[in-house]
């Protein structure tokens, strides 16, 4: 098609849209609302899921959690068991985890409910959790040195805000030197688990925690997967090793794979986006019908004009093109405004929900593309009707 011809048709379309300002605006509004809701919802869902995913990944993406209660004969994992698991191909390292609750004493303050976690050195290598001070060094991690890292809640509740690093706190009857402070946690655990009755969190070397808890063996460990290793393969390797350790006894262990959880979340998020997008596109459909209605009215109103244009030498295709361009222009303008509004809605929504706002190019492309598609789809029939008008009848029309 001739380039000048397209430009001319486009100019004529704009003139016609402008000369019917009110009607064009109202028609466009349907598309604006449709596109805005599609873009807004999709962007909000994406933002929320990015945020949730981020929190999950803080919890440990690329991490497998082994819970090994063991059997009556053999409870938990011994040091040699852990070493065996460390030999599984693809394993970067293993941090045994011991959790317990105990009392803490600092000066005159006695806190009854302090959450204590025993961790290994590798935990701090894998997770960036220390805000100030330092984490354990090798000797402290392996031996029985009494050092601890506390969180801000602990500093606030137990230590009454006293500068913690270098101070000593009494945990379960033992004096622990504070060597570091944890970053505030924004992981999902804090959202899911009610932590209001806990006076604070403390991390100590896992061997100390094991002793404190009175248990002989570790029952839980985080397994870090090497970069480039396939988590599922590592998981299979761990299962083989654990089956070996427990003589294939049922229910002796479980492996929690964060990655598969995230995959599931991703699927759910995709379904949610599709569903919400689908619902919102009903608005778009209604907008499209609005466009079709306006175009049909426009064709009827301009019957004589169409006849005249034909008498002046316009081919049917040109008439069709002109009306089609008019409907596409109308809906695309609506689409662009809709994208802007949708992103604004998503931005406000993200702020309100404390979620991440991500402007996705896909969504913008989708919105503009959708509106163009609606313009073609719903402009087709009216444009076709215009192009098929008999010039004589059209000229005679009142």
């Amino acid at each position: 098609m001739h380039r000048g011809l397209l430009i001319q048709s486009f100019k004529m379309s704009l003139e016609n849209i402008i000369s019917n300002k009110m009607r064009s605006f109202l028609t466009m509004l349907g598309i604006v609302i449709g596109v805005a809701s599609v873009i807004g919802l999709i962007t909000i869902v994406q933002g929320v899921s990015t945020t949730v995913m981020g929190q999950f990944s803080d919890l440990g993406a690329g991490t497998l959690t082994v819970n090994a209660q063991g059997t009556y004969l053999k409870r938990g994992l011994t040091d040699s068991d852990l070493n065996e698991l460390r030999q599984v191909p693809g394993v970067e390292g293993i941090s045994p985890t011991v959790s317990l609750s105990t009392s803490a004493v600092f000066g005159n303050t006695v806190a009854e409910n302090v959450s204590v976690e025993g961790k290994d050195l590798i935990y701090f290598q894998q997770n960036d959790v220390v805000y100030s001070g330092r984490s354990f060094n090798t000797g402290e991690s392996d031996g029985n040195v009494m050092v601890c890292i506390v969180d801000r809640k602990f500093v606030r509740n137990v230590m009454n805000g006293v500068q913690p690093i270098g101070n000593t706190v009494r945990l379960a009857g033992y004096d622990y030197q504070i060597i570091g402070v944890l970053k505030p946690s924004n992981s999902l655990t804090s959202a899911f688990v009610d932590t209001s009755n806990i006076d604070g969190n403390v991390i100590i070397p896992y061997r100390n925690a094991l002793k404190m808890s009175g248990a002989a063996n570790v029952t839980s460990a985080e397994v870090y997967v090497q970069q480039g290793a396939v988590t599922a393969d590592v998981e299979a390797g761990l299962r083989t090793a654990l089956d070996n350790i427990y003589n294939e006894a049922d229910n002796s262990y479980s492996i929690f794979n964060m990655e598969s959880l995230m995959d599931t979340m991703n699927t759910v998020q995709g379904m949610l986006a599709t569903m919400l997008g689908g619902i919102a596109s009903i608005a778009l459909l209604v907008g499209g019908i609005g466009i079709m209605n306006m175009m049909l009215v426009s064709v009827t109103e301009r019957t004589r004009e169409i006849g005249l244009r034909k008498a002046l030498g316009a081919e049917p295709l040109r008439i069709q093109l002109q009306f089609l361009i008019e409907s596409v222009t109308l809906s695309m303008i609506g689409g662009i405004i809709g994208v802007a509004f949708g992103l604004l809605i998503a931005y406000i929504g993200a702020m309100a929900m404390d979620a991440k706002f991500t402007m996705s190019g896909e969504a913008i492309l989708l919105g503009v593309g959708f509106s163009a598609g609606v313009g073609i789809l719903f402009g087709w029939a009216p444009a076709r009707r215009a192009s098929r008008l008999n010039p004589i009848d059209a000229l005679r029309a009142e």
Binding site: H2, G4, L5, Q8, E15, N16, S19, R304, E305, L308, R309, K310, A311, L312, G313, A314, E315, P316, L317, R318, P391, I392, L395
Partner: protein, 243 residues
């Protein structure tokens, strides 16, 4: 000139034949009734002629005009326009023929109200795919010719009836058509303005432009060099009442 016989062979001086109709009929089916609007029209028009087709309303003159203007196709008969056979043509090629061969002038002007005089005149040139610069130049040229060089950016509602019809005439001649086809061109104008339009027709005709004018008004028809009368779908040479 007015009394020149149709004779195509014995009067070659008026130019080459550009329009020939032979036995053109047009039937309209209305329910079970068939109305024969044109009953065998024979017509020949030579280049440079100023022809008036005179007839009362209901005589079939509008149908004949549509036929000449390639807006409609005959039920039977042969129609050649500038050597082209106008039958079995597709809608698209009829549009091309209209664009190239016919310049329409309507009784009620039919200007696009939302477009300026300039844009109205430009329209057929756009449809003829004339290049931008040439097109603008041509529009200015024809508007100057009809004496509206200073009214190019006016909208139709800012122009008088006579001025509007002159814009329409400029639009009709813009693409240099073979035939200027006017349907009651003075029908919506007062006498003085009508006379001015007729003078414009004369000067266009003097430049060699072929004009076919359809009218029911004998006085207007007498401006033409040659009159054919149409009555009840039949055509005859000259003014019937003169006989």
């Amino acid at each position: 000139m007015k009394d020149n016989p149709l004779g195509t062979e014995d009067n070659p001086g008026t130019g080459t034949e550009i329009l020939r109709m032979k036995g053109i009929t047009k039937d309209y089916v209305m329910g079970e009734e068939i109305s024969h609007v044109l009953k065998g029209i024979d017509l020949s028009v030579r280049e440079g002629e100023f022809l008036a087709i005179l007839g009362p309303s209901g005589s079939g003159k509008s149908t004949l005009m549509n036929m000449i203007g390639c807006l409609d196709t005959p039920t039977s008969g042969e129609y050649y326009l500038n050597g082209k056979r106008i039958a079995d043509q597709s809608e698209a090629s009829l549009a091309h023929i209209r664009s190239k061969e016919i310049g329409f002038i309507f009784q009620s002007f039919y200007l696009l109200q939302r477009q300026t005089a300039f844009q109205n005149v430009e329209l057929p040139l756009i449809y003829a795919n004339m290049p931008d610069r040439e097109r603008k130049r041509r529009v200015r040229e024809v508007l100057a010719k009809v004496g509206l060089a200073d009214k190019m950016d006016h909208y139709p509602n800012q122009l008088s009836g006579g001025q509007q019809q002159r814009v329409a005439i400029a639009r009709a001649v813009a693409n240099n058509p073979t035939i200027l086809l006017a349907d009651e061109p003075t029908g919506a104008l007062d006498q003085a303005t009508g006379r001015q339009v007729m003078e414009l027709f004369h000067s266009l005709n003097d430049e060699g432009r072929t004009i076919i004018m359809i009218t029911h008004d004998r006085k207007i028809a007498e401006h033409a060099d040659r009159i054919v009368s149409i009555l009840d779908g039949n055509i005859s040479e000259g003014d019937l009442d003169d006989a």
